[in-house]
C-alpha cells in the first residue's frame, strides 16, 4: 500500500522512466520464463541418457511442442519435469 | 422544708451556679428554687452567652439545657469548656431522654444528666451532690454521722459502739447516704449509684430497702438518722 502511494506520487519520474525505456530502470527480470530458456532446456534434456525412456521422452516432446506453440512457460514446466524424471536412476 | 435548710446551710456549702436555659419559665423556676436553697445563680438564655460566662468567670456548678439557640448547644458548650481545661461540674437538663443522648452528653464531658420534666428536689439533690467539693484530708476510711460509724476497711457498722449487722447491699446504701450526709439523695440516684441501674421502677422498691436499713439503725436508739424528705428522697443527718 505504501509502495503504491510512493509510485503514484512520483508520476513525473515514471514518465521519464517510460521515456528512457529498457535499460536500467524497472525491476530485474527473471529470465527462466522465455523461449530462449525453453530451447536451452530442450538441449539439456536431449543429451541426458535417460531422456529416451518414459516418462521423460513424452514429457520432453510435449514441452518442446508447447514452447513452439507460443506457451513458453507451460513448455518450460514440462521440460523441467522431464529433466527431473531423467535424473531418477532406473 | 427548704426554708429550714437555708437557715442551717454552712457558708462554705453555698455554691455559685450558672444556669443556661432558654425556656424562660423553667429558668425562672430553677433559679428561684436554687436561690431559695441558698445558692447564687447566674442565668444565660443562649449557648453563646453561657459559654462566654462559663469561660470567663468562676463557677462551682453549671446547669445546662442541651438544646440551646444561638448556634452553640449544650454539648458543644461543654466540649469547648473541657477542651479549655475547665473542670467545673456540669449537669445536663434535657427533654431528650434516650440512652444515646445521655451517653452523648456524658461523653462530651457532662457529669450528670436529668431529663425533663424533673422534680426540683431531684435537681437540687444532684446539684449539691455534684458540687460538693472533695475533702482536703486523706481519703476517709471511716465515715461518721452523729454516733454512727462506718468502717470502710473492716466493713463494720457501729452505732454508739454497738455493732449492727447489715447485708452488703445495705452497707453500700448506707455508705452512699453518709458520703452525702446532709444532702438529699433521691431514689433514682440510689438506684443508679448503689445498684448501678438506670431505669425507673414503677413502685417503691428503694423505699423498702431504706426502711429496712433504717429499722436496723434506729432500733434501740431514740434519734433517727435517716430522714425521709418528702417528694424528694432521703437524707442522713444528725439533727432531726
Amino acid at each position: 500500500m505504501v509502495r503504491g502511494m510512493v509510485v503514484s506520487l512520483s508520476m513525473p519520474v515514471l514518465v521519464l522512466a517510460i521515456a528512457v525505456a529498457a535499460s536500467y530502470e524497472g525491476a530485474p527480470r527473471v529470465t527462466s520464463d522465455s523461449p530462449e530458456y525453453c530451447s536451452s532446456l530442450a538441449a539439456r534434456v536431449a543429451v541426458m541418457p535417460a531422456a529416451r525412456r518414459e516418462p521423460s521422452k513424452s514429457l520432453a516432446a510435449e514441452g518442446v511442442k508447447l514452447c513452439g506453440s507460443g506457451y513458453p512457460r507451460a513448455g518450460i514446466a514440462k521440460l523441467r519435469r522431464a529433466v527431473k524424471a531423467a535424473q531418477v536412476e532406473p | 422544708m427548704l426554708k429550714e435548710r437555708v437557715a442551717k446551710r454552712p457558708k462554705d456549702e453555698t455554691m455559685r451556679i450558672l444556669l443556661v436555659e432558654d425556656d424562660a419559665e423553667v429558668a425562672r423556676f430553677v433559679k428561684k428554687g436554687l436561690q431559695e436553697a441558698g445558692h447564687n445563680v447566674e442565668h444565660a438564655s443562649n449557648g453563646r452567652d453561657g459559654l462566654f460566662l462559663a469561660a470567663s468567670e468562676q463557677f462551682d456548678m453549671l446547669v445546662l439545657d442541651r438544646m440551646l439557640p444561638g448556634g452553640v448547644d449544650g454539648v458543644r458548650l461543654v466540649e469547648t469548656l473541657r477542651s479549655q481545661g475547665n473542670r467545673t461540674p456540669v449537669l445536663f437538663l434535657s427533654a431528650l431522654s434516650g440512652v444515646d443522648e445521655k451517653v452523648k452528653g456524658l461523653k462530651a464531658g457532662g457529669d450528670d444528666y436529668l431529663t425533663k420534666p424533673f422534680a426540683f428536689a431531684e435537681l437540687l439533690a444532684r446539684v449539691e451532690a455534684l458540687g460538693r467539693r472533695p475533702s482536703v484530708d486523706a481519703p476517709a476510711t471511716k465515715l461518721r454521722v452523729a454516733d454512727l460509724e462506718l468502717d470502710l476497711l473492716s466493713r463494720n457498722v457501729t452505732r454508739a459502739g454497738k455493732r449492727i449487722d447489715v447485708q452488703p447491699r445495705e452497707f453500700r446504701l448506707l455508705e452512699h447516704l453518709m458520703r452525702h450526709a446532709g444532702q438529699v439523695v433521691t431514689r433514682t440516684m440510689l438506684l443508679e449509684k448503689v445498684w448501678d441501674y438506670h431505669f425507673d421502677p414503677q413502685t417503691n422498691v428503694i423505699d423498702v430497702h431504706v426502711s429496712r436499713l433504717r429499722q436496723k439503725l434506729d432500733k434501740g436508739f431514740d434519734k433517727p438518722l435517716i430522714h425521709t424528705v418528702r417528694n424528694a428522697g432521703y437524707m442522713i443527718r444528725a439533727e432531726p
Binding site: Y24, G26, A27, P28, R29, V30, T31, S32, D33, Y37, L41, R44, R73, I76, A77, L79, R80, R81, V83, K84, Q87 | S97, G98, V99, D100, T115, P117, A119, R169, W195, Y197, H198, F199, D200, P201, Q202, T203, N204, V205, V208, H209, S211, R212, N231
Partner: protein
C-alpha cells in the same frame, strides 16, 4: 478610569457539546444517559478487551503463517547457498555455474532465483536474473521486486561473496504475498465484525442491565411518590439482582414496621394518656371549687404533682417500649453475664417481698453469658417480679429461676396468686390491658407490654402459663425466652 470589566449578563453558557438534560429524562426512575450508563461502560470495556484479543490473535496467526513461510524460505535459501558453496569448492567457477543451471532445470515450482557474476566485471556467468539488483549492495539478505512470468512480485534474495565471484540465491515470494493479502483482508473484515459486535453488545448489555434494574427503579419511584406498600418484583432467577431486590424489600418491610410502630406510639399517647391527664385535671378543677382552706389546697396540689409525675412516667415507659419494639437499641447490644443481673433484680425486690411477708426464691445454677441490652433485661425482669409480688398473697412464694438450654436461656418468674385466665393471656401484652381482677391494684398496666417488647428485641418470646396447673390458685408463671446465637 473606565470600568473594563464586562457587565454581568446571562447565566454562564454550558461547555460546548453538553446538552441541557430534558426534564423527563432526569429524576428518579429514569435510566442514565448513554455516556453515564454503567451498562454502556461495561460494554465498551468488553469491546476493548475483545479487540485486544483479536489483535493478539491476528498477530499470532501472522507470525505462525507468514512468519513460518518466511523462515522456511530463508532456511531453503541458506541450505541452497551452502550446497552451492560446496560445489564451488569442488569445481570452482565453472562447477558452480553448472550447479546453478542444473538446479534451474529441475525447478518445477518455478520459484528459484540465481545470479552468478564476476566481481570485477559484473558479467553474468549463470542464473536466471537479468540484472544485479541495487539492494544487494546494502545488506546480504534483502527483498526486492522482480519481474517474473510477466508479473512484478517480491523475491527474497541472499548475497554470497566468493573470491572473484558474487552469487545471489533467492526465492520468489508470490505465495507469501498472497497470504499477506488474505490476512489483511481477513483482518479488515474481522475489525468490522468486532466493531459491529461491540456496538451490539453495548446496546444489549445496557438494555439487559436496565431491564433487570427496572423493577427496583419502579418501586423506589413509587415509594418516593408515597406508595409505601410497593415492593420490588423478583424475576425468580435468584441471581444478584434478585438478591438486591430481596434485600430492598426486607428493608422496606422494616421501614413499614418502624412507621407502624411510630403510629402505634402516637395512638397510644393520644388515646391512653388522655385518661390520666383528664383525671388529674379533673381533680385540680374540682379542688378549685370545693377546697376549704390552704391546707386542703396544698394537698390537692401535691396530688396534682404526683399525678403529673405519674403521667410522665407512663409517657417514658411508652417511649421505651416503642424504642424496644423498633429495635433501635439493638445497636447497643453487648455481651454480658445475665446471672448477676438477675441476682441484683432478685435482691432489689427481695426487700419488697419481705415487707409483704412473702418469700423470694432465686435459683440461678448455670452461667448465663449472652448478648443483649443489660438495662432493658433488668427492667423486664423487674417488671415481672413487680407483678408477681403484687399478686402473691402474704405468706406466699415468688420464684425467680433461670436455666441455660442448648439454644436459649429461659428466665421464669412464678407467683402464688390467682393467675391469669387463658383468655386474658393473649391480651396481656397489650398496652394498658388490665385483667379484670387486677384493676384495683396500682400500676399502669405497661409492665408486661415492655417485657414483650424486650423479648422480641432479643429475638425471643414471652410465655404465660399456670405456675401450678390444676390448683385452686394456679398462679402465673411468666417465662422469658432468650435465644442464643
Amino acid at each position: 478610569m473606565p470600568d473594563d470589566s464586562p457587565p454581568a449578563l446571562a447565566p454562564p453558557a454550558l461547555p460546548p457539546g453538553v446538552r441541557r438534560p430534558r426534564f423527563a429524562e432526569s429524576g428518579p426512575g429514569a435510566p442514565p444517559r448513554l455516556l453515564k450508563s454503567a451498562g454502556f461502560r461495561f460494554a465498551v470495556v468488553f469491546a476493548a478487551m475483545f479487540t485486544s484479543a483479536a489483535i493478539a490473535l491476528v498477530a499470532v496467526l501472522w507470525w505462525a503463517t507468514a512468519g513460518a513461510l518466511d523462515r522456511q524460505t530463508d532456511a531453503a535459501i541458506r541450505a541452497d547457498a551452502v550446497a552451492l558453496g560446496e560445489r564451488w569448492r569442488e569445481g570452482s567457477g565453472s562447477g558452480l555455474a553448472e550447479a546453478i543451471e542444473e538446479r534451474l532445470a529441475v525447478d518445477i515450482e518455478n520459484e528459484a532465483i540465481y545470479l552468478l557474476v564476476e566481481t570485477a566485471t559484473m558479467k553474468k556467468l549463470a542464473g536466471n536474473l537479468d540484472r544485479w539488483p541495487a539492494e544487494a549492495e546494502a545488506t546480504n539478505w534483502f527483498r526486492t521486486r522482480v519481474s517474473h512470468d510477466g508479473f512484478e512480485v517480491e523475491a527474497r534474495l541472499h548475497r554470497v561473496e566468493l573470491p572473484g565471484l558474487r552469487l545471489l540465491v533467492g526465492r520468489d515470494e508470490t505465495e507469501r504475498e498472497m497470504l499477506r493479502h488474505l490476512l489483511t483482508e481477513g483482518v479488515i473484515w474481522a475489525s468490522g465484525a468486532v466493531v459491529f459486535f461491540a456496538l451490539v453488545g453495548a446496546w444489549l448489555v445496557r438494555a439487559v442491565l436496565q431491564a433487570r434494574m427496572r423493577p427496583a427503579f419502579v418501586t423506589t419511584a413509587a415509594i418516593a411518590g408515597g406508595d409505601l406498600s410497593s415492593r420490588v418484583a423478583l424475576s425468580g432467577r435468584e441471581d444478584e439482582f434478585d438478591r438486591l431486590a430481596q434485600t430492598l424489600n426486607t428493608m422496606l418491610d422494616r421501614i413499614g414496621t418502624l412507621m407502624a410502630g411510630v403510629r402505634g406510639v402516637s395512638d397510644a399517647i393520644a388515646h391512653d394518656l388522655r385518661t390520666p391527664i383528664a383525671r388529674a385535671r379533673g381533680k385540680l378543677e374540682e379542688a378549685l371549687g370545693t377546697a376549704r382552706d390552704e391546707e386542703a389546697l396544698r394537698a390537692v396540689i401535691e396530688e396534682g404533682i404526683s399525678d403529673l409525675d405519674n403521667i410522665s412516667r407512663i409517657f417514658q415507659a411508652l417511649l421505651r417500649i416503642a424504642e424496644a419494639e423498633a429495635g433501635a437499641r439493638r445497636a447497643a447490644f453487648g455481651p454480658f453475664d445475665l446471672r448477676p443481673v438477675l441476682a441484683d433484680a432478685g435482691e432489689l425486690y427481695e426487700a419488697s417481698a419481705e415487707a409483704r411477708g412473702q418469700m423470694l426464691e432465686v435459683s440461678l445454677p448455670d452461667p448465663l453469658e449472652m448478648v443483649g441490652d443489660r438495662d432493658l433485661l433488668l427492667q423486664a425482669v423487674a417488671n415481672l417480679l413487680d407483678n408477681a409480688i403484687k399478686f402473691t398473697p402474704a405468706g406466699g412464694t415468688v420464684r425467680l429461676a433461670a436455666r441455660r438450654h442448648a439454644q436459649a436461656i429461659t428466665v421464669s418468674v412464678a407467683d402464688d396468686g390467682p393467675g391469669l385466665a387463658p383468655e386474658d393471656r393473649s391480651h396481656a401484652g397489650e398496652r394498658f390491658f388490665r385483667a379484670d381482677r387486677s384493676r384495683a391494684t396500682p400500676g399502669s398496666g405497661l409492665g408486661l407490654s415492655l417485657v414483650l417488647a424486650v423479648a422480641h428485641l432479643h429475638g425471643g418470646a414471652l410465655l404465660l402459663e399456670d405456675a401450678k396447673p390444676g390448683a385452686a390458685q394456679p398462679g402465673l408463671k411468666a417465662v422469658l425466652q432468650l435465644p442464643l446465637p
